[in-house]
């Protein structure tokens, strides 16, 4: 067998956007004659067929499982059975919290070629080569998978483009073997706001990161944000320390700056998880003492300098 198998991701009845981005990755690996199958695991998988009926999909495989939501044992067992049955060349999953919970286990158990956080995948002289970041994204790392007939890649979000046209792939079903579910999901809990700010709606955000050094400095930046008319945001370490509420955290596990047009990052180094929430903003200004900070690779304007001095000078102008 051959072809590409994509494992779509859903949560609480919604298809996650990365599911369709995986088709963009599949397009760059597809060879003549390769079929692309998308599997969706749910207690009612048929409900996702319509949203998965897009260009680049040859087949949708509905996989009925016992529980409505992700759990690692069910996914590992069902996806493992699919791989064993179909022997695809390539299996694509999202590099996401759900796949963190089962993809490595599956790869280790089945002996699949395996790479995570992949942002480029191609065939070089017929060999599958995946590219990921290393040393805090300072280098690119190309990996290959000698001797592996099936390779499982966990693909980074917001890199590949989802197809925009509809299509009518064939729909098949797969009976997953029953799984011994040893980690049972209970309820979902929404982040308690802490305050009533909506980072996703803010058009102008001023974010502070680890560079502010101590909690006492937060007040200065809060006042500056007010003065210039920005919503104050923060990176993960600031929210984890409790210096600002979690509702102000921008990034993968925080909020996405969806409506933002101007984003000023002060003392933010630019971890990949933070960039995920803001790198799309048209005008990013980064202020950081470290000229090598990765935030400068996504910023339009950069100021290499002391955030407190810049903040003081900027305050005088408003």
């Amino acid at each position: 067998m051959s072809g590409i198998l994509i494992i779509a991701e859903q949560r609480r009845g919604e298809l996650r956007p990365i599911s369709l981005e995986l088709l963009g990755a599949a397009a760059s690996l597809r060879r003549d004659g390769d079929e692309v199958a998308v599997a969706i695991l749910s207690d009612s998988p048929e409900r996702f067929v319509k949203s998965l009926s897009v260009g680049g999909v040859d087949e949708i495989v509905t996989v009925r499982v016992g529980a409505p939501e992700f759990d690692p044992d069910t996914f590992e067992s069902a996806v493992g059975a699919l791989i064993t049955r179909r022997s695809p060349d390539v299996v694509l999953v999202a590099h996401s919290v759900d796949s963190f919970g089962y993809a490595a286990a599956l790869a280790a158990r089945l002996g699949l070629g395996f790479a995570t956080d992949v942002f480029n995948a191609e065939r070089i002289d017929g060999e599958l080569v995946a590219t990921r970041g290393g040393y805090g994204q300072k280098v690119n790392v190309e990996v290959d998978f000698p001797g592996r007939s099936t390779v499982l890649l966990a693909i980074r979000g917001n890199v590949f483009k989802a197809p925009d046209q509809a299509a009518t792939p064939r729909v098949t079903s797969f009976d997953a073997p029953p799984a011994d579910n040893r980690a049972k999901g209970r309820e979902f809990i929404e982040l308690s706001a802490g305050d009533d700010v909506d980072m996703t709606a803010a058009e102008f955000i001023l974010t502070v990161g680890r560079g502010i050094g101590e909690e006492a400095k937060v007040a200065q930046f809060r006042e500056l944000a007010d003065a210039v008319g920005a919503t104050l945001g923060c990176s993960r370490p600031i929210a984890d320390a409790g210096w600002l509420p979690k509702s102000r955290q921008v990034g993968q596990s925080g909020k996405t700056a969806s409506a933002c047009k101007l984003y000023i990052a002060m003392g933010v180094s630019g971890a990949i998880q933070h960039l995920a929430g803001m790198k799309h903003v048209t005008t990013i200004v980064a202020v950081n003492t470290d000229a090598e900070a990765s935030i400068f690779s996504v910023a339009k304007y950069g100021i290499v300098g002391d955030i407190f001095e810049i903040a003081d000078e900027l305050r005088k102008l408003f």
Binding site: G185, T256, E309
Partner: protein, 266 residues
């Protein structure tokens, strides 16, 4: 009762680093080594559980690496770990996260802990897969990105919250022993006191070979890995347009950018 905590000594890169001669890694001369940030949180979680437990709990840290890793293991001993284990063999060189997981799983088999913690990921290679792969090799229940944990050592199950994208959480009950990968922010890691640093300096670090954990050379290195590094290179990155001048001049330009944005919106 025992909690095993898998830790990694990570490498950050010095400013003007160079790629190694074979083009497949960075020259280690440019490494700035430290304990992985995530592991600081998983160690703290284990030590907190130990301190709250009615029965004695032993916290053991384990790492795979050369004697350079001892520095990070001593840091863990100073922060409350009772024992440290380090596994090394030249054959481990070139291992991916799965081969490392095989070593950690072998140590877990030997130690038979009630729970195994690992960080969600490492700050240098960011595989986010070592802990969960170790769980598969042990056949243990597992869960990733744990941001809140209720666990009594010896209990048949634990309850935790999994941190999802966008900041929501899911509560999960898991059977024990289990492997949990611990997220940043689950607790506030302590600083080691001067006294505990001094005490840690004289604690022994148990050094094990592959044979000690019943593994062979074929289990690690490239042979035991699911991927192989082909090439490492410095990418052409987008660069911000730098705003030059002194702080006052830089702030004045920033003020202009802010006013342009406000003007465009008005």
């Amino acid at each position: 009762m025992k909690i095993l905590v898998a830790v990694k000594q990570v490498a950050a890169l010095d400013e003007d680093f160079e790629i190694r001669g074979d083009g497949r890694d960075v020259d280690p001369e440019f490494f700035i080594r430290d304990l992985n940030e995530w592991d600081d949180f998983s160690l703290e979680e284990a030590v907190k559980i130990k301190e709250a437990a009615a029965e004695p709990v032993e916290v053991i840290v384990v790492s795979v690496g050369t004697d350079e890793v001892d520095e990070s293991l001593r840091k863990c001993l100073a922060k409350g770990a009772d024992r440290a284990i380090r596994v090394w063999d030249a054959a481990v060189e070139g291992s991916d996260s799965i081969a490392i997981a095989r070593v950690l799983a072998a140590v877990a088999k030997r130690e038979a802990p009630d729970m195994l913690f690992a960080g969600v990921q490492s700050s240098d290679q960011s595989f986010a897969s070592t802990g969960i792969a170790a769980a598969a090799l042990l056949g243990w229940p597992h869960a990733a990105v744990v941001s809140n944990l209720t666990y009594t050592p010896g209990a048949a199950s634990a309850v935790f919250r999994r941190e999802l994208e966008g900041g929501s959480l899911q509560e999960v009950e898991i059977q024990c022993p289990a492997v949990l990968t611990i997220q940043l922010g689950i607790n506030t890691p302590r600083y080691a006191s001067l006294r505990s640093i001094k005490q840690a300096a004289s604690k022994p670090i148990e050094v094990l070979s592959l044979a000690d954990v019943a593994l062979s050379e074929a289990d690690v290195g490239e042979a035991g890995s699911l991927s192989r590094v082909r090439r490492m290179y410095v990418p052409d990155k987008g660069r911000a347009q730098l705003i030059e001048g002194d702080a006052a001049q830089q702030a004045a330009r920033l003020a202009e950018i802010i006013r342009e944005f406000k003007g465009a919106r008005a």
